[in-house]
């Protein structure tokens, strides 16, 4: 279980990025963090994964202050993927997925590690690409390879920071379907920062709306995707339509 208890974060004295945030991550569900640029979504994700240790307040991982857990132990429970990675070294898909086993075996793969790597590659349908170099495959395939690495890491919690950046619509939908499957098939708990509110509405079961470093509202898509919540969060006029029981946001200006 991951609990955020009154966490505040600031880079300089007067500019607070997070203000007294409280949040309990819902197990075996997809939680989407939404909000305008600079709302503190990525910072909150960083604090929850201990990438940025909390300055005030505390993040509890299974009842223990996450700052007091060894990084290697955190890496066995929480996997974190940042916005589509810029690659500077040339490695194959399989190399990358094998890195996912590092917290468990320290780079010396045992038979069970090899099994996990193979499972992850198979699950993400990357068998034919496993010997290809990451710089030779498409953006969507590369994103799948990174997800495979996280699967090999075999953590109950997965945090994704804008996984749809630089992906076209087809790959974005494919990515969100994969994320949904991870929850349904493998019982993962997923927290994802999404830029496009409609992707959050369509795939998340829980949405956290943030503004100026605070959680304004959290709840099911039905509760959050309303003009009264979204208008102040994004500082914009929203029009919500119902399409087969799903809420869809129209946020284009119409005269």
């Amino acid at each position: 279980m991951i609990e955020v208890r009154s966490v505040s974060q600031s880079y300089s004295r007067d500019k607070e990025i997070l203000k007294e945030v409280d949040l309990v991550v819902r197990e075996r569900e997809i939680t989407a963090l939404v909000g305008a640029n600079g709302a503190g979504k990525s910072t909150l994700l960083g604090v929850m994964t201990n990438l940025l240790p909390a300055k005030k307040g505390v993040v509890m991982l299974d009842g223990v202050d996450i700052r007091k857990i060894k990084t290697n132990e955190v890496a066995k429970k929480i996997a974190f993927l940042k916005q589509t990675q810029q690659l500077s070294i040339r490695i194959t898909v399989k190399d990358l997925v094998e890195f996912g086993r590092f917290p468990h075996c320290g780079g010396r793969l045992r038979d069970e590690d090899r099994e996990k790597v193979e499972e992850a590659i198979y699950y993400m349908k990357l068998e034919d690409l496993q010997e290809s170099y990451l710089d030779e495959i498409s953006g969507g395939q590369r994103q799948r390879a990174f997800i495979a690495m996280i699967l090999a890491q075999d953590t109950p919690y997965i945090f994704l920071d804008e996984p749809l950046n630089n992906l076209d619509i087809k790959y974005s939908v494919e990515m969100m379907k994969i994320v949904t499957k991870l929850v349904e098939d493998l019982g993962k708990t997923i927290v994802v920062v999404l830029h496009d509110i409609n992707f959050a509405a369509a795939y998340a079961s829980h949405i956290v709306a943030m503004k100026d470093g605070q959680v304004i509202k959290e709840g099911s898509p039905k509760e959050v995707i309303t003009p009264s919540v979204l208008n102040p969060v994004f500082d914009h006029d929203f029009h919500i339509v119902d399409h087969d029981g799903r809420s869809v946001c129209l946020y284009y200006d119409h005269e």
């Binding site: 132990e73 890496a75 990675q85 500077s88 070294i89 040339r90 490695i91």
Partner: protein, 327 residues
Amino acid sequence: MLRRQWKRITIIVMFVFLALLSLEIGPLSDVSLSSFIYGDEVARLVFLHSRVPRTAAVILSAASLSVAGLLMQSISRNKFMSPTTAGTTDAAAFGLLISFIFLGHRSGVVQASFAFAFALLATMLFTSVINKLKIREVVYIPLIGMMYGGLIGAISAAVAFRFEAMQVMQAFNLGSFARLGNFTLVYIVLIPLFFSVLFATKFSIIGLGQDFAKNLGVNYNRVVFLGLIIVALISASTFVAVGPLPFIGLIIPNMATSFYGDNLKKSIFDLMIFGANFVLLCDIVSRLVIFPFEMNVSVTISVVGGIVFMIYLIRGMHSGKNRKAAA
């Protein structure tokens, strides 16, 4: 997989051939591998004290500098970083000069320690400043690094001039495998090479960035520091033993990458052999062009390496432009 095996076999065959050829060449034309095998006394002495140490020095310095280059590229996430393009080699020279001026002729170990300390400090300074500057164009970094190296070189020259040690400095700034005596120092590189193999996976992981490393529970700063120590140790001991071998740390990892990739755990062996082959070849050429005399190997390496470096630099500038156009 099979292709990988073949590539490996090819370079190993080349390596054996070049190593034997390197042993065969020498000003004493009646000393050859066959006379050595048949137990000729002169041949035995020549081989034991000259040719075998020389070939070993070529192989070890080339292999270790290739690894040092790849480590630097991994640490800085920049394909153009290397001991030559970050002031490391120039700082090692400065350290060697200081030890000479203040302590006089000392054992190679003392000289190497000075070179090591200077190389480590200069490289750490450069990498931390570069990280703060946040330069977008990757090709600027080696250019800035070469200027930085030039600055260190100029300070060394000024110090050498003041202490009337110009000749000494000129002598050790020429890379050559013809200096007997200090060769044993090159065996020091076996220690950093051992650690590079041991921590290979960690070095590859930090090459994917700080957040990526942290996600996998790798202590980024500690691995970077260890990497810089390895780089400085390799640069210093090879510099004291054979002098500067410019561009090796830069071009060998770049050339080897296209064949073997950058997963250090899998490719470190291929990388070392690849680098050894390149320098063995350069050394053989240097010894044959004006036979029975020889040219400094750093001249040959500079000519070939400079051209290859230019090609990569121009390619890097083009890809930088393409990336901008795409964004």
